[in-house]
């Protein structure tokens, strides 16, 4: 185990992939000379050269589509879209090509494409740079969606994505890049589609992923000090979604709170809630609750942004309310 940041862990996976497979290359905005907008690819241009670490124009739709084409042509492209906000400009290639070509061609094609992007709020970047739209992507059959919430997963899930024969979208939460954690660089790829229990508990299950995971773990500490044992599930993968792990936990705790930085309406949290209703209704002692971002374009001022996002205190408060422990 090595202590490193989420950013370094993602870089470790990129480096390992570039070293071990000559078909792998990285392309995206400022991944080369600049070193990556979030410095994830820092140093990779010097090590692997401009053929394999490619700076692209600001043409999201075309370089993601070129990733689709390069994958069809036998390469293993890793495309970095700087942030999820800019990925709105490549949705055509994602939804109409990456996700469809295999099925629509009668199974003739595979698209082993990895698309990475930063997601999330919390850095006072205001309404156009703070989206959490991974839930939208999870709506689309034909692609897979992962969202690492720990440094170890930033590495393991990226390596797992590179093993997949189909497009995988990796959402790295921008606020987590400097977060340190223990990373096992000798471990192989993680498993896409498997959630993990990050903290065991008996009183309620809090289901979350990505940037909300560290906040939820802090909330669980707060609750523990009050004698409330919260179980914390890290989804890790939004598509496929590991419903079995969620339902097994609910069967033990009988209460479920979903924490998601996306907006509440039509959210990924709604999907999780619906799955619990469909498969675990009779295990529940009360309604499933959701804690999501406030339904506003993200404000710039820090106190307002803080208020718009799930926070340890609000997560703990939601848990208390579910247990009738409003203080």
């Amino acid at each position: 185990m090595t202590k490193m940041t989420y950013r370094e862990a993602a870089r470790s996976a990129l480096r390992e992939a570039l070293r071990s497979d000559p078909r792998v290359f990285l392309m995206g905005e400022d991944v080369g000379r600049y070193g990556g907008a979030f410095a994830v690819s820092h140093g990779l241009l010097a090590e692997f050269g401009p053929e394999r670490v490619r700076d692209t124009p600001l043409s999201e739709n075309t370089f993601v589509g070129a990733g689709v084409g390069a994958a069809l042509g036998g390469m293993r492209p890793i495309v970095e879209v700087m942030t999820v906000n800019f990925s709105l400009l490549c949705l055509d290639q994602v939804v109409n090509n990456a996700a469809t070509l295999r099925h629509m061609s009668g199974g003739q094609l595979s698209i082993p494409l990895v698309v990475r992007m930063a997601t999330g709020a919390g850095r006072q970047l205001a309404a156009q740079h703070s989206h959490s739209l991974e839930g939208w992507y999870a709506h689309i059959p034909g692609i897979k969606v992962v969202a690492p919430g720990t440094a170890d997963d930033a590495r393991a899930l990226l390596l797992a994505a590179l093993r997949e024969p189909d497009p995988v979208f990796v959402f790295e939460h921008s606020a987590l890049y400097p977060m340190e954690g223990e990373v096992d660089e000798a471990a192989g790829p993680g498993e896409i589609g498997r959630a993990v229990v990050r903290r065991a508990g008996t009183d309620l299950t809090v289901i979350t992923y990505g940037g909300s995971l560290p906040k939820t773990l802090v909330a669980a500490d707060l609750l523990a000090a009050e004698g409330i044992a919260a179980e914390v599930i890290d989804l890790r993968s939004l598509r496929p979604l590991d419903t079995a792990t969620i339902l097994a936990s609910i069967a033990r705790t009988h209460r479920a709170l979903v924490v998601d930085e996306g907006w509440r309406t039509g959210s990924f949290a709604a999907e999780v809630s619906a799955r619990i209703m469909e498969g675990g209704f009779y295990d529940l002692d009360g309604p499933v609750q959701r804690l999501c971002s406030a339904e506003v374009p993200m404000p710039y001022a820090k106190h307002m942004e803080d208020a718009a996002l799930p926070q340890p205190a609000t997560i703990a408060a939601a848990a208390r309310a579910m247990l009738g422990r409003d203080g």
């Binding site: 075309t62 589509g65 390069a70 042509g73 099925h103 003739q108 082993p112 897979k144 024969p165």
Partner: protein, 325 residues
């Protein structure tokens, strides 16, 4: 026009005639409900696909649009597999999942059948990138219409291909209408070659009603792209004789304009040229029509006899099964 040998001339004529008769049959089958969905006919534009395809090798990639029956047949996808696809049958070239707009044949490097205007261009750039990175000499021919030049993907893809000197042949089939909107009604700069040149892609306009001119221009462009000199654009000036799709009442262009273009029918014109040069006699024409009719009949029979994909396979191939690539 410099005419090819009698044998090659007759072959080009046969290919164009196959597309024409195949599509006439498809239109007929559409009216009786055998083919559903959108059906976009290529009739009038046959010289473009047939001419361009002559310059491609089996290692080259083709990316096409939703008006791609001509490219598919000229690339060698068997007519039966194309017709079965339009029927939605499991023996179709896309197992009935794609229909008329989404013909695929990976064995012929025919990568669709793209029905979002401009959506194929980035994919073509990526295919060419894969070839370049793997040191293959292949070219990717990317067909699109004049409507696509309005899309951001056109500007982005030409730029990226030029920036990275990728072997893409952009073939703009300029039939003058983006569905019902004339080029001059949606572009301030209507000269598509100049647009390409602005992006750093050398271009050439060619008479798209002349199969030999298209072939010659494509050979020039592919030789250059293959030689590592980066992408080229070919603007084939052509015209569709039929409406945009089977739903289109064709209200946006005059009958006289259509008739003027029909007088320049690429098949009629090529027959006349071959005949004038003594390389075709009436018996040849009759033989071609007979063999094409038999081929179209066989394609229809294959489609009629084909099985439907079992409903149990509905979710098959959304993802690649474990262990398969």
């Amino acid at each position: 026009m410099t005419l090819p040998s009698r044998e090659r001339g007759l072959d080009l004529l046969r290919q164009m005639t196959l597309i024409r008769r195949f599509e006439e049959k498809a239109a007929e089958l559409y009216t009786v409900g055998k083919i559903r969905g959108f059906l976009h006919l290529y009739i009038g534009e046959e010289a473009v696909a047939v001419g361009a395809m002559q310059a491609l090798t089996p290692d080259d990639n083709v990316v096409a649009t939703y008006r791609e029956h001509g490219q598919a047949l000229a690339r060698g996808i068997p007519p039966g597999a194309v017709m079965a696809e339009m029927y939605g049958k499991a023996n179709g070239c896309s197992r009935g999942r794609g229909g008329s707009m989404h013909l695929f044949d990976v064995s012929r490097r025919f990568h669709g059948g793209h029905a979002i205007v401009g959506g194929g261009l980035p994919v073509a750039v990526g295919l060419a990138l894969a070839d370049a990175m793997q040191k293959r000499a292949a070219v990717t021919a990317c067909f699109f219409g004049d409507g696509a030049v309005a899309e951001g993907a056109f500007a982005e893809s030409l730029n990226l291909a030029a920036l990275w000197r990728l072997p893409v042949l952009f073939v703009c089939e300029n039939n003058l209408y983006a569905m019902g909107t004339a080029l001059a009604r949606h572009q301030a700069q209507t000269d598509i070659v100049r647009k390409a040149e602005a992006a750093g892609v050398p271009g050439e306009a060619v008479d798209g009603m002349d199969v030999l001119a298209v072939e010659a221009a494509t050979r020039r462009a592919t030789a250059s792209a293959r030689g590592g000199q980066g992408p080229r654009l070919l603007e084939a000036r052509t015209y569709r004789f039929r409406a945009h799709s089977m739903y289109d009442p064709d209200l946006y262009r005059g009958k006289d304009e259509i008739e003027r273009w029909k007088a320049n029918d690429p098949i009629v014109r090529f027959i006349a040229a071959l005949r004038a040069a003594g390389r075709l006699v009436d018996a040849d024409l009759a033989a071609i029509e007979r063999s094409v009719a038999a081929e179209v009949d066989a394609a229809v029979a294959e489609a009629e006899a084909g099985p439907w994909e079992p409903v149990e396979d509905l979710l098959k191939d959304v993802y690649t099964p474990p262990g398969r690539r």
